[in-house]
């Protein structure tokens, strides 16, 4: 048996070659890092979250303060009367004395006589940082306190950039809360149904099919109109979240169920049964961790869908009520063609939505490729 021992020695040698062991997380990270769109998505998503958490700091104007309505974006330039400058200057929009011959609105244009340098960490409107620290410092602005409106104003003269930044908060709250509810319900019900199987599974799946077969849009509209118009905004948002989650969990539960069913037949689950492990232990230690990778991917790909849904419902006026701000609600102003033609900058919330959707999709794609490293 000397030959066998030689082989055994080789076996043992092999196992001592690499001394550092890599956990699952480290492996996923190593693969994820290589995906350019994935990393781009991760950076954008992180920036989006930072921006919405510290929205007041990043918003240069008070999102509810009124100024001249439908003012075009301020002009940012590297040239002044004296020539080229390294630091950009802003020519803010001012109303002139003349009136538009058709609309009789005062004509607006950049104040070319007064270049104002762009500045960071300037004092502006008062707010409470993180909800309790009174502050008035803002990320960007003009040093002399003149309002900076990089994306123009809407019909009530409110700064669109500031509203977009503030609106990201409500939009992300709706998206994140619904996705958390969807994930918890979908995963739990999917695992239960798949693991128990049998008659329960059969009836439960029929129920899931009914939920999936519901015509979603009419249901959203009906359900949202059920709430009294006088209800507080927070209740309204909670209701919207419940409706989105109530219809959204079914798809995820289906996917998780089929994963669970294939997982429950795999040998390591049988081995756990053979050592006498309880169902709870098998589900939490063996099935759940292996299903989670799939769930994480479907979360990141589900968020953009909810953002789009919110913008769509908001546009129709069913998601968020003023004075709260969301991207969908902001697009309501853009509902007539003539307005878009005259004041194209009020479409800029579309840019926010596009960016957010792209960021989450890219992150999800990168994760999907990286999540199965074996």
């Amino acid at each position: 048996m000397t030959l066998v021992h030689e082989g055994e020695a080789a076996d043992a040698r092999l196992s001592t070659v690499s001394t550092t062991s890599q956990s699952y997380r480290a492996l996923v990270w190593r693969r994820f890092r290589k995906s350019v769109p994935g990393m781009l998505g991760l950076i954008l998503v992180s920036m989006l979250f930072i921006m919405s958490i510290f929205a007041e700091f990043f918003a240069p104007q008070n999102p509810n303060a009124n100024g001249a309505s439908f003012a075009p974006p301020d002009k940012v330039s590297f040239f002044t009367n004296e020539g080229f400058t390294l630091w950009p200057v802003v020519y803010t929009i001012i109303e002139s004395e003349e009136l538009d011959p058709i609309t009789f609105q005062p004509l607006m244009g950049p104040d070319l006589d007064n270049p104002r340098p762009l500045a960071f960490f300037v004092d502006g409107w008062d707010y409470e940082f993180l909800g309790f620290i009174p502050m008035n410092t803002h990320f960007i602005g003009l040093s002399d306190g003149t309002p900076l409106r990089l994306l123009g104003t809407d019909k009530l003269g409110r700064d669109i950039l500031s509203r977009g930044i503030m609106g990201s908060r409500i939009t992300l709250i709706i998206a994140m809360t619904s996705i958390i509810l969807i994930t918890i319900t979908g995963t739990l019900l999917g695992i239960t149904s798949g693991y128990i199987g049998g008659r329960f599974d059969m009836w439960f799946q029929r129920f899931v099919e009914i939920v999936l077969a519901f015509p979603q849009l009419p249901l959203y509209l009906t359900l949202t109109t059920l709430i009294p118009v006088t209800a507080p905004s927070s209740l309204f948002i909670a209701f919207v979240i419940l409706v989105i989650a109530g219809l959204g969990w079914a798809q995820l539960s289906r996917e998780v169920r089929s994963k669970t069913m294939s997982m429950a037949r795999i040998d390591y689950v049988r081995a756990a049964q053979a050592v006498g492990a309880s169902d709870t232990r098998i589900v939490t230690r063996h099935i759940l961790p292996n299903v989670m990778s799939h769930v994480i991917v479907s979360i990141t790909l589900g968020i953009p869908a909810i953002i789009l849904l919110e913008s769509f419902l908001g546009y129709l006026g069913f998601a968020v009520k003023p004075p709260l701000i969301s991207w969908g609600l902001m697009l309501q102003d853009a509902s007539t063609f003539s307005v878009i033609g005259s004041y194209p900058w009020i479409l800029s919330p579309v840019g926010f939505i596009l960016l957010a959707v792209f960021a989450f999709n890219a992150l999800g794609d990168g994760l999907r490729d990286a999540i199965d490293p074996y």
Partner: protein
């Protein structure tokens, strides 16, 4: 030398992988003559399949053939032919059959039309002519009722018949070279013999040259004229089959040949008390057809009234072809399946009626090792967690330190270093993973282990190590094994007694030597012949 068909010199293949490249094949050269069978032999990862695919130019996009490669066929270097020219050769002058006959046939076309397609791609031929030729080919490959098969779909054929169809397709255009990449690995042993004999007969009839790729030394001994032994992408040794087997010179060849399972179970260690006894076990599966809520149910008798008794320290082999119910029977004895009828005694206690909670006290005394070490270890758990699980569940070892000591002991017993506690399964090779699975089983200090084909997913040399480990553990711990296998060689090396199963019933049983040397039933005789001689 005009009878040389392929002259290959310095074949090299490099794969691009995450963080670098791997040379899968290095400087492999061989000569293939008309009517000759050469065998590329090696364990998994030795580059034998990659070599074959390099000849056919069927490598994946990540692979590059090294520039010095020269594969001369009919005076031209195939490594530099254009894709169009290569396509003309492939399936026409050179053809290939693969390991998995199910996935190489298209399920939506009939067998006849798939063979006819191959004919019509390379020849001007009407559909009717092609179908006629296809029928003749099916006759050549000795499929029963070839006329009926022509209009059948792949799923209606058995694995062996599918492989015959693949051979018929490969031979459709009278190729000069047939490359057979593990053609029988996915088939039962008895079928394997038939397929190999068919290739041999066709070769003699047509003067075909065959490149046989396999890890099975018995197959090589029976069918190859010239052997190339490969390891880590290089040819270690080559020579006429007889010479290689009788006088190997390279140490790797010697090791490979020496790892054929041998030896016998020691009859002295068998005790007198019975560990496990099953009486009239029946397992019936209810198959459901159609219906959203209620379908029609039919019954499948997987295990049909089987009985066995296992003594302490004994190894009982359970053999049979796939589908004979041996795994179902084994798992039913351990109560991992629900048995429909019958009685099971474990250490003198009836366990057949117990529910899962009531089974728990017995779980730690009976363990199981599965066939596939890649699916039997949870990829998300570290070695410590995998082995510790049984200890935690059964409340063995009060403190963490005590448990860790037991885990380490189990690893040492299974022939692994005890420093690997925080590593993950994917860092280990197949053989090491199987050792981990064994460590998980013995950590609970069971009295009985169900071994469900524990060696069949492993390379030959690793297989020998695992057999030796199992023997050692049995000797030291007085374990009883129920050893499920289709490989009679391993059974002979490890088992005291053997039960031969077919279609859920016992065909024959007795001491291993008696059954294997003097089989009384035809079925056993075929199994034995297939395992030890191939030429059935």
């Amino acid at each position: 030398m005009s009878d040389i068909v392929i002259q290959a010199r310095r074949i090299g293949v490099t794969f691009q992988v995450d963080g670098g490249s791997i040379e899968a094949v290095k400087d492999v050269s061989f000569t293939l003559k008309k009517g000759q069978t050469i065998a590329l032999v090696g364990e998994s990862g030795s580059g034998k399949s990659v070599t074959a695919r390099a000849i056919m130019r069927l490598l994946s996009k990540r692979a590059t053939v090294n520039p010095q490669t020269e594969i001369l066929y009919a005076g031209r270097n195939m490594a530099t032919l254009s894709p169009t020219e290569m396509r003309r050769l492939r399936g026409n002058r050179l053809s290939m059959i693969f390991q998995e006959p199910m996935s190489s046939l298209n399920p939506v076309y009939t067998v006849g039309s798939q063979i006819a397609e191959v004919l019509r791609i390379h020849n001007r031929m009407s559909k009717a002519e092609a179908m006629g030729k296809a029928l003749a080919l099916l006759r050549d490959v000795q499929i029963p009722e070839p006329e009926a098969r022509l209009n059948q779909y792949p799923h209606q054929l058995s694995g062996g018949q599918r492989q015959r169809v693949m051979i018929a397709m490969a031979l459709a255009n009278n190729p000069d070279v047939l490359i057979a990449d593990e053609p029988t690995t996915a088939l039962d042993v008895t079928v394997q013999a038939e397929i190999l004999n068919l290739i041999k007969a066709l070769k003699e009839k047509t003067g075909l040259a065959v490149i046989l790729i396999t890890h099975d030394l018995t197959v090589v001994r029976q069918f190859a004229d010239h052997v190339y032994v490969m390891q880590h992408g290089e040819v270690r040794e080559d020579g006429p089959t007889g010479t290689i087997f009788s006088a190997p010179t390279h140490p790797y060849t010697k090791r490979l040949l020496g790892s054929e399972p041998k030896g016998h179970a020691d009859p002295a260690q068998v005790g007198t008390d019975t560990v496990l006894e099953g009486r009239n076990i029946r397992v019936t599966y209810a198959l459901r057809k159609g219906g959203a809520f209620r379908g029609t149910w039919s019954k499948l008798q997987a295990v049909d009234g089987l009985s066995l008794a296992l003594k302490r320290g004994e190894t009982l082999g359970l053999v049979g072809e796939s589908g004979s119910g041996k795994t179902t029977f084994g798992q039913a004895l351990l109560r991992l399946n629900n048995l429909t009828e019958g009685e099971v005694d474990f250490l003198g206690h009836r366990i057949d009626g117990l529910d899962r909670r009531a089974m728990n006290p017995y779980r730690k005394r009976m363990q199981v090792v599965f066939q596939d070490p890649f699916s039997s270890l949870n990829p998300r758990m570290s070695v410590r967690q995998i082995i510790e699980e049984g200890l935690i569940v059964n409340r063995l070892g009060r403190t963490r330190a005590e448990r860790e000591e037991r885990v380490k002991q189990a690893l040492r017993d299974a022939g692994l270093p005890d420093t690997i506690l925080s590593r993950f399964p994917h860092e280990f090779s197949g053989g090491q993973r199987q050792r981990l699975a064994i460590a998980r089983a013995i950590a609970l200090e069971p009295e009985f282990i169900l071994l469900d084909e524990p060696t069949s997913a492993l390379d030959l040399s690793v297989q020998a190590q695992i057999i030796e480990l199992l023997r050692k553990l049995q000797r030291e711990k007085g374990l009883s094994y129920l050893f499920i296998s289709h490989d009679l060689k391993v059974v002979r090396a490890l088992c005291h007694r053997v039960i031969v199963m077919q279609n859920g019933r016992i065909v024959e049983q007795g001491p291993v030597d008696a059954v294997l040397e003097n089989p009384t039933t035809d079925y056993t005789r075929r199994l034995v012949k297939a395992a030890f001689e191939i030429a059935a």
